[in-house]
Symmetry: D2
Subunit: 115 residues, 4 copies
């Protein structure tokens, strides 16, 4: 396979958990991830239990890696992240439209329920 | 342990994936989950790659189980779900405030970045 | 739906992460989960990044809940767990055979690769 | 940050789910992932609900990307993967020892339970 990873578009979501920090709160670490993602130029959106993120596969993985590096830089000795990542070949997504499009499609179906 | 599961409050997020459906689209299945969650009475909010959900541990698990049953009922022969679920003993959350509170805390920290 | 949750068989895997513990190591907490699972009577098997677990849906969820309770009891103020959970209606699994069967099927396919 | 991603060692686990395939079975797709991972040179081990995988962060992400490409090549129009990925700065792991070491540590603790 000669694909560079720039050719495969990934629609993802991740939840990063700092470990061994001595305090249960994680807000400052997640805020730092937000700053890292902003510099990445990728489309992202935080929610209550993670962050939607999308772009070329390699860029998405590099952005999450940079979040790990930044959170280690804040003093967290260990980090565990859960990533959900999806790709598809049946249609081409306009850049940045993947997660928003999925949500809109469900809302459209539900809107038809209303009498 | 005599805890009934009503005593442990869970803040969660889940992403349900129908398998073997013969079509890559999942919108109608996720819409059906939305209807199931609405009947559950639990606090929930959909995003681009899953659904925030919270309540007593057993109720959260029962609601996701009912989503599986409903999606099987729609014809999906197999389902794989990813659940992120968190509990804490260091503070008591007002019911329904868990996921929203986490997001608000990060936004508050980020707001202080602005000059 | 009148299904009690005893009727839906779940094949799962979970990874429990204690937070705010002040030390990056989690071995003692995961060992405690192993003891809890042993008492549950469910089929389970630990691996390097989680534990395979299966049984009736409600029992699986109750077992993971009891792991949370036990780990809080060990002093972890916060816990975040990632659960992968699957159900299927296209075939009936012999109790306890779900995860092992999936692995065996892949190994069987790979065995046919050998010249 | 100038880290190339070769400097950050990642201990991971992933579960890849082909979607829209018209059949609930996934064995042939997972077998193909096994072949891809074998070519990657990374340390990996399949279990009942995913595959342990470890190495430099970028290599781990590239290997999972190559699994997606191979499974799309087999005809799956859509794929959803769940990745658990961990990094730590408090100790240096011997390459390939991360997941096995975590499991061994828990087994060591449990062995001390025996009378």
């Amino acid at each position: 396979m000669s694909t560079s990873g720039q050719e495969l578009y990934a629609v993802a979501d991740f939840c990063l958990i700092p470990m061994g920090t001595g305090e249960p709160s994680v807000g400052p670490y997640i805020a730092e991830c937000h700053r890292v993602l902003q510099k990445s130029g990728l489309t992202f959106k935080m929610h209550g239990y993670g962050t939607n993120l999308e772009g070329p596969w390699d860029d998405v993985c590099a952005a999450i890696r940079d979040c790990h590096l930044a959170v280690h830089g804040q003093g967290a000795p260990r980090i565990a992240t859960d990533i959900r990542i999806g790709t598809r070949t049946d249609k081409t997504l306009a850049p940045g439209s993947g997660n928003a499009g999925k949500l809109a499609r469900v809302q459209e179906i539900l809107a038809a329920d209303k009498p």
